[in-house]
């Protein structure tokens, strides 16, 4: 099965992954130079702006080697954020090798190391590539040494490259053909394929990206998705060349797509195994797991009349995001909305941004929550991800919250600062080791609720970008949890309630009250903003009464001007929510979300 190579590029942020991918695509002549649009792989607006790949992309590059041999090189791009680490692992499982890119002016950094470990976990061949050698600040010798010492790789094998100037591109392509093994797997065996991505296309439905592990699949075959047990008839198979290219069949070792009349991406599972329906009991490919949302939040349209528009937008959004779950929900304060579950906070933010930008939906989100468990007096166990359903505290026997095992890697000098932020977030059972000298891998067990807000940002800040972070869910542990309610002018605002550890309750409540007091405009009366646990007030802030609101003159030109102002205010009022006698602007809800834990 010579001829095929499946690989991925991995790099610390900004070391040039996208640029190199573009150059490879260009070099292999897949797109004419004049059509070349930079960074073809990162094609979602938000991905571009944030410089984060959210969806895996694949491209199949034809390459004729120096010795005249023909190759098909499948480049599989991977997501770049911990929220999507499962997707990364499935994409890597579809490869035999990686290019490990190192910026010659920066050297090896935290993410480089983390990426190397990930590649090694999947038994991939690793080709170090030293990029940006065109820069005056490039220090090739030092970078080589770091590759030897920090990464433990043979630096003689490192390829020198400038993705920007197109230097070393052919060397890289040659190395891919020589140093990355051809895919194993047998054409003669029963068909099995690994799903590593799925995307929605408005004409064709779901396009599954997969790696064919064994056997062959062709148009007309009846396939079964093992975990779901659903069967589908294949309409088309093919490979990705910038655009899709139809093929009669795909065989073991190849990477391509399958279209099989599957309506939404939610009807597929990343990591699942595809087999022929006729095949009774083939072994499933290893590593499949059902990804479950860990962060929950409710969303409401800013303008209450827009509920059905929001429902439509969600339905469309969901076509392309299997990880999002949602169901109808309603709040006394905010009206009808939806309770949504996300893989993590970035997933939530991307969701929010896309809803606003692509679907034009202005929304209010409630404070994100994790899923808690409560053991009740009658022995029942209830799961609660929405503070609205917090049980009567009188019948709670035991409160449990999810814990994670956080893995952080960073240069040794940042260890103190990182320990501090972890301990402040109730981290326990820490231990660490030195994978290479000068670098630390630190483990902590922490409540998930403590990391969903801004932990990752905070870690990045204290490590000046050198810290990497990954986590896995561990278990549920007992915690002293309470529900904090927020009352505005004596009325509870259900959308602002949160479940929180008792030690944090007062500070958090005070922060929320202060933020609200800043954002809610003055009314004709004094407004108390209070935080309460049960019936007990634990924090308070006051909005003083407006003493007058009148402009003295109203003649001639004032009349039109005042009317225009009133028209504008009436519009603004539509974006406010009324809680009893108090009007709360959308901003107030948003500002509460931004409150961080410090």
């Amino acid at each position: 099965m010579a001829g095929i190579r499946n690989f991925s590029i991995t790099a610390h942020i900004d070391h040039g992954k996208s640029t190199l991918a573009d150059r490879l695509i260009q070099y292999t002549g897949l797109v004419a130079d004049r059509d070349f649009q930079d960074q073809i792989l990162d094609n979602m607006d938000i991905e571009r702006e944030r410089g984060i790949t959210i969806k895996s992309q694949t491209v199949c590059l034809p390459y004729k080697s120096r010795s005249g041999e023909e190759f098909i090189l499948n480049l599989i791009d991977t997501p770049g954020h911990v929220d999507f680490s499962y997707e990364v692992s499935r994409a890597l499982a579809s490869c035999e090798g990686v290019l490990l890119l190192v910026d010659a002016s920066q050297g090896v950094e935290a993410q480089t190391l983390a990426n190397l470990y990930l590649a090694m976990e999947h038994d991939l061949a690793v080709i170090p590539v030293i990029n940006k050698i065109d820069l005056p600040s490039a220090d090739i010798e030092n970078t080589r040494e770091m590759i030897e010492v920090d990464l433990g790789l043979d630096s003689d094998g490192a390829i020198l490259c400038s993705a920007k100037d197109g230097i070393g591109i052919e060397d890289i392509l040659e190395a891919i053909t020589k140093r990355i093994p051809a895919p194993r797997g047998e054409k003669e065996k029963p068909f099995r394929a690994l799903i590593f991505d799925a995307r929605y296309d408005s004409f064709r439905g779901t396009i599954i990206s997969c790696r064919i592990v064994d056997g062959t699949v062709r148009e007309g075959d009846i396939i079964r998705l093992m975990s779901l047990g659903t069967t589908h008839k294949i309409e088309e198979v093919g490979v990705f060349r910038i655009a899709r290219e139809k093929r009669p069949s795909l065989s073991a070792g190849e990477v391509g797509y399958i279209i099989a009349g599957i309506k939404t991406v939610s009807d597929t599972r990343i990591g699942d195994t595809i087999v022929h329906d006729a095949d009774p009991m083939p072994p499933a490919l290893p590593g499949f797991k059902e990804v479950k949302p860990v962060v929950f939040s409710s969303i409401y349209p800013i303008d209450s009349d827009e509920n059905s528009a929001l429902a439509d937008a969600l339905e469309k959004y969901k076509l392309n995001d299997a990880a999002l779950i949602y169901q109808r929900d309603s709040s006394a304060a905010l009206g009808h909305g939806f309770r949504c579950g996300f893989l993590g906070l970035l997933h939530l933010e991307v969701f929010q941004e896309r809803l606003e930008r692509e679907f034009n939906q202005g929304i209010i989100m409630t404070s994100p929550s994790v899923e808690y468990k409560f053991i009740l007096a009658n022995g029942d166990e209830v799961e609660v991800d929405n503070p609205e359903y917090y049980p009567d505290p009188g019948i709670i026997v035991k409160s449990l919250e999810p814990y994670i095992r956080a893995t952080m890697m960073m240069p040794e000098r940042y260890m103190g600062a990182v320990m501090q932020i972890c301990l402040a977030r109730r981290g326990v059972n820490s231990h660490f080791h030195y994978p290479t000298s000068g670098r630390i891998e630190l483990f902590f067990e922490m409540p998930l609720a403590e990391v969903i807000f801004d932990f990752y940002d905070k870690l990045k800040t204290v490590t000046q970008g050198y810290g990497s972070f990954d986590y896995e869910l561990l278990d549920y542990r007992e915690g002293n949890l309470v529900k904090v309610d927020i009352l505005v002018n004596g009325e509870r605002v259900d959308a602002l309630s949160t479940i929180i550890h008792t030690d944090r309750a007062r500070t958090r409540a005070k922060q929320i009250c202060d933020r609200l007091a800043e954002e809610i405009p003055k009314h004709m009366f004094k407004i108390a903003v209070q935080g309460a646990v049960g019936g007990k007030i634990i924090a308070r802030s006051t909005i003083s009464a407006m003493r007058k609101d009148v402009t003295a003159k109203c003649y001639g030109g004032d009349i039109t001007r005042k009317r225009k102002l009133l028209e504008k205010q009436a519009k603004g009022k539509k974006r406010m929510k009324s809680i009893g006698k108090v009007m709360i602007p959308q901003n107030a809800f948003v500002s509460v979300l931004k409150t961080n834990d410090e």
């Binding site: 004709m524 009366f525 407006m546 003493r547 007058k548 609101d549 009148v550 402009t551 003295a552 003159k553 109203c554 003649y555 001639g556 030109g557 009349i559 039109t560 005042k562 009317r563 009133l566 028209e567 205010q569 009436a570 009022k573 006698k581």
Partner: protein, 372 residues
């Protein structure tokens, strides 16, 4: 609810001898241009198709009309009288600066049919007048009021201003007392608002003066309302008080009731039949347009039914007459709004009308939103 009251006529004289530091009206100190401007004012036509029946109010405002050379107001009125019809018993007002008031001018005004004089007193405290950049002092203001009475004018209005930087309850009380002692038919009390690119706005931005707090503004407002109503004045609009129903400014009432009015002169606004138009604020542009025969450069808008209602709503809530219940019931949220504002003692139901209270006046900019 189009208003078919007789129309009012407004003449804008955009000149002042000096500029007061807080003023953002359209006015100019190049009084040498007055001759040309007055000529144009007398010649300006309403836009084509805009006919007006006999005017029952005329208002000569500014700027400072009293700063015009002797005889020019009489001449203006004569020319205007030759072009527009005025109803018998019309209210004819002129705004004057105390400094300009002389027996001669008063005689000229009377002769021209003017029967109401509004004096821009602002304050009876010399220090305050100086700070505000006014030309006159307290003595000349008192003198002007007396002279107006002596000239046989039966309708005297005094304009006052409050709430500027450094203003105090005590000095405001004393200014109000002096004003009351002169027995005017009409008093206007305007709260200082710092707007537009004025010297006062720059002083504020530079931190040389402080903005008057809401609390003090409120007390000053309430003091004026209490003092004047105690002396028999009716608080008939946020900033206006009249000694008896008949003494309220008939002309200004037209602005607040969507009655038709024609405004002549640069920056003057007009309204008729749901259409509003205005001359742009430029003396040169104005004169050029009138002299060239194409008319002054203008802006205009035609009110939609909704805009008309919005204006009716907020304007109505600024006057003691208030609004008919029937009108308010057009707004979907009206019952809830009314209940809340009654509970806050901002509005009161009187027969089939809803009227603002004194507290309602204080929150006049907030009230309409409750109904929207």
């Amino acid at each position: 609810m189009m208003n078919d009251d007789p129309p009012g006529l407004y003449l804008h004289i955009p000149f002042c001898v000096t500029r007061c530091i807080y003023c953002d009206f359209y006015s100019d100190t190049r009084i040498s241009m007055a001759g040309r401007l007055l000529g144009c004012l007398a010649a300006e036509n309403a836009p084509r198709g805009m006919g007006f029946s006999a005017f029952d109010t005329v208002y000569i405002g500014g700027g400072t009309p009293s700063a015009m050379p002797a005889g020019s107001i009489a001449l203006l009125m004569e020319r205007i009288g030759g072009r527009f019809e005025t109803a018998p018993g019309a209210e004819v007002t002129i705004e004057v600066n105390p400094d300009d008031v002389t027996a001669g001018k008063l005689a000229e005004y009377r002769g021209a049919g003017i029967n109401r004089i509004s004096v821009g007193v602002q304050s009876f405290d010399d220090g305050e007048l100086k700070f505000l950049g006014r030309r006159h002092d307290a003595r000349s203001a008192i003198g002007a009021a007396r002279a107006i009475r002596e000239a046989g004018m039966e309708n005297l209005g005094i304009d006052l201003i409050y709430g500027f930087a450094g203003h105090t309850i005590e000095s405001w009380r004393s200014t109000l007392e002096t004003a009351l002692s002169l027995g005017p038919e009409h008093v206007s009390c305007y709260q200082m608002t710092i707007e537009g690119p004025t010297p006062m706005a720059r002083m504020l931005a530079a931190g040389r003066i402080e903005e008057t707090g809401e609390e003090l503004q409120r007390e000053l407002f309430l003091l004026a309302s209490a003092a004047l109503t105690d002396h028999g004045y009716i608080h008939y609009e946020i900033s206006n008080y009249a000694r008896g129903e008949g003494a309220a400014s008939r002309h200004n009432g037209k602005y607040w009731a969507h009655a038709p009015y024609l405004g002549l002169g640069p920056s003057a606004h007009s309204f008729a039949g749901g259409e509003r138009w205005w001359n742009l604020p430029s003396i040169e542009g104005y004169c050029g347009g009138v002299e060239g025969g194409e008319g002054p450069p203008r802006g205009s808008e035609r009110l939609t039914a909704r805009q008309f209602d919005l204006e009716t709503l907020y304007l109505g809530l600024r006057t003691a007459r208030g609004l008919p219940l029937g009108f308010l019931s057009r707004f979907p949220a009206w019952e809830r709004a009314l209940e809340r504002l009654e509970n806050e003692s901002c509005l009161r139901i009187e027969g089939d009308r809803v009227v603002p209270t004194t507290k309602g006046f204080l929150f006049a900019d907030s009230l309409p939103l409750f109904f929207l």
